[in-house]
Amino acid sequence: MLEDDVASFIAGNVMMIAATRDGALRAHVGRGCGAYFDADTGELVLLVSSSQWPDFFANARKGGPIAMTVCQPDNYRALQIKGTIAGVDVATEVQSAKASDYRDRMLAIMDRLGVSRLQLSTVFSNVDLAAIRFWPVDLFIQTPGPEAGERVQRSQS
């Protein structure tokens, strides 16, 4: 179970990258177009374009490992979540709407940071959207600095 602040950080205005791996242990990267924590299932849901990131998607299989890093673009505050994929589905209409909303918000934020739509033209792709559900197992600080890579200590609940 993710704590509320982590869950809201992941669902907030953050850039997101994720990695799966193939049988030869080569990592494959995809860029997410929105993510959220499903409190009912305890799973994280990552929305990602299956056609823009075919190698990443091809290796996103139930039971396989996944890592996702989310990063706030204005201050580089970042977290990495690792887990096991619980399922891969075609995104629902609601999830597609979430991705569109995410993309619009992020384009506006990045514009304010001086990054144009052209520069981001393939970053926030939401075509052929897939929803990758995974159970978060480990959480790490990923903000650049001496603490990068350290496991987040969770409070007792």
Binding site: S49, S51, P65, A67, R117, Q119, L120, S121, Q142
Partner: protein, 449 residues
């Protein structure tokens, strides 16, 4: 083998957004990290800075592989690099360059040593492939601007500069040429003091004021680090910096208003190239822009070629001047009688600092030269001097012909001119210096500041 040549995507290596590196551990669990830079080594290798990537490093140690995604800051295209680890290095040219770059970035963010480089990892690029855009949000123009032929521009610039016969013209024309041929609209040349301590602005272009005599300490900011380490440095996007730290060095112990550096507002991109000839640093050429990513690696290569021509030209002028006999003949006494209003001329032997009417003028060798001229004028009425006698006068501590004397005299003359009266310097002919004074200097030597 690489599908896409690395040379074709070099602009992506310093992308508008950080690159991504992904690895897997021995049990196959992936790990992700952001990278500020991917460094091009050659057509088959890249270097990655190993600062905080402990998990990445452990994974690479386990299976030797990494996947990197880079994003082109101009066209929005992404590429994937499949990497195989080759070696890790804690020294050498690539390490030194990346280390210097990180040090400058850290100082701009006021976080010195936060980005201290531990090692540089060299990877062979097994494959470089383009991520074909699927329904891109925006598409690049059909006919992008044809890339400038930087080699031809550098060749034309050096051809022109090599034909110039005096150092002052070389300094000014160099900056004009950099704008005309390479688009460097804001630029300056700084001359080193010969002691490895500071650099002074001797020529500038594209600023509201010239700032002749403005100083930067070795090791301070992009210019000071470029000089200290003899390395070209480029910051493509200063938006990542939290604040712009002024690199003007302050002299310890003296309460003085230093000459402000020429500056533009909203600087986003900077480049500094050391001026080196025969293995000796004579200064730095520096350029900056309000546009991020204004200077690419191609600008950098062109500027390096032109900088070497400037450095060689300045060295040749110094050698020619030192070997010349055009000296010591025009000692023309003039009346030292009262020539108008008195003004104070304070001299600080400790650092060669000169103040006129309590305003800071200059220090170092140019300050010592100015004191010598003014004192001689007051004591003997002499107003004309020669490069040759200065070189023979050991009190200036000039290291034979490697003294940058001409450049320092240019700096002194320009500083006095920009400041405006009552003292000026003229160069009636090669190797000659004429002091022009409007008024009567009251010299005070300040032994203890």
């Amino acid at each position: 083998m690489t599908g896409v040549p690395l040379e074709a995507i070099r602009d992506s290596f310093e992308g508008i957004m950080p690159s991504v590196i992904a690895t897997t551990d021995a049990s196959g669990i992936p790990n992700l990290s952001y990278l500020s830079h991917v460094y091009y080594v050659d057509s088959h290798h890249v270097a990655l800075s190993n600062q905080f990537f402990s998990k990445t490093a452990a994974n690479v140690a386990a299976n030797g592989r990494a996947t990197v995604v880079v994003l082109d800051g101009r066209m929005g295209l992404q590429h994937v690099l499949d990497l195989v680890f080759v070696s890790s290095s804690r020294s050498g040219p690539i390490f030194d360059r990346i280390s210097a770059q990180l040090d400058v970035m850290a100082s701009l963010q006021g976080k010195s040593h936060m980005l201290k480089l531990r090692a540089v990892d060299i990877y062979r690029v097994e494959r470089c492939r383009r991520i074909d855009p699927v329904a891109p949000i925006e598409t690049a123009p059909e006919n992008p601007v044809v890339a400038r032929d930087w080699l031809a521009e550098a060749a034309a610039a050096t051809a022109e500069l090599s034909a110039i016969a005096d150092p002052e013209t070389l300094l000014d024309r160099s900056l004009e040429t950099l704008e005309e041929r390479c688009g460097f609209r804001h630029s300056m040349i700084l001359v080193a003091d010969g002691e490895g301590r500071k650099l002074s602005t001797v020529a500038s272009r594209g600023y509201p004021r010239y700032g002749f005599g403005a100083e930067i300490a070795f090791g301070d900011g992009i210019i000071g680090v470029a000089a200290e380490r003899g390395l070209t440095l480029r910051i493509a996007d200063m938006r990542r910096s939290q604040r712009y730290v002024s690199a003007v060095a302050l002299a310890a112990g003296l309460n003085r208003d230093d000459i402000p550096m020429p500056a533009i507002e909203q600087v986003q991109c900077q480049i500094a190239v050391p001026l080196i000839a025969s293995g000796r640093l004579s200064g730095v050429v520096f350029a900056e822009s309000e546009e991020s990513f204004a200077f690419s690696h191609a600008h950098e290569a062109a500027l390096e070629i032109i900088a070497r021509q400037i450095a060689a030209g300045l060295a040749i002028f110094e050698l020619a001047d030192a070997a010349s006999d055009a000296a010591g003949r025009g000692v023309a006494p003039v009346s030292s009688a009262d020539k108008g209003q008195a003004f104070s001329f304070q001299y600080f032997p400790r650092d060669g600092g000169v103040f006129i009417d309590n305003d800071y003028v200059i220090r170092g060798v140019p300050g010592r030269l100015l004191y010598h001229f003014v004192r001689s004028y007051v004591e003997t009425g002499r107003a004309e001097f020669s490069n040759r006698e200065i070189r023979r006068d050991r009190t200036f501590n000039l290291p034979d012909f490697k003294d940058n004397l001409e450049t320092r005299l240019i700096l002194l003359r320009r500083r006095l001119e920009e400041r405006g009266g009552p003292i000026g310097i003229e160069r009636p002919e090669r190797g000659q210096i004429r002091l022009v004074i409007d008024g009567t200097p009251q010299i005070a030597v300040m032994e203890d500041a």
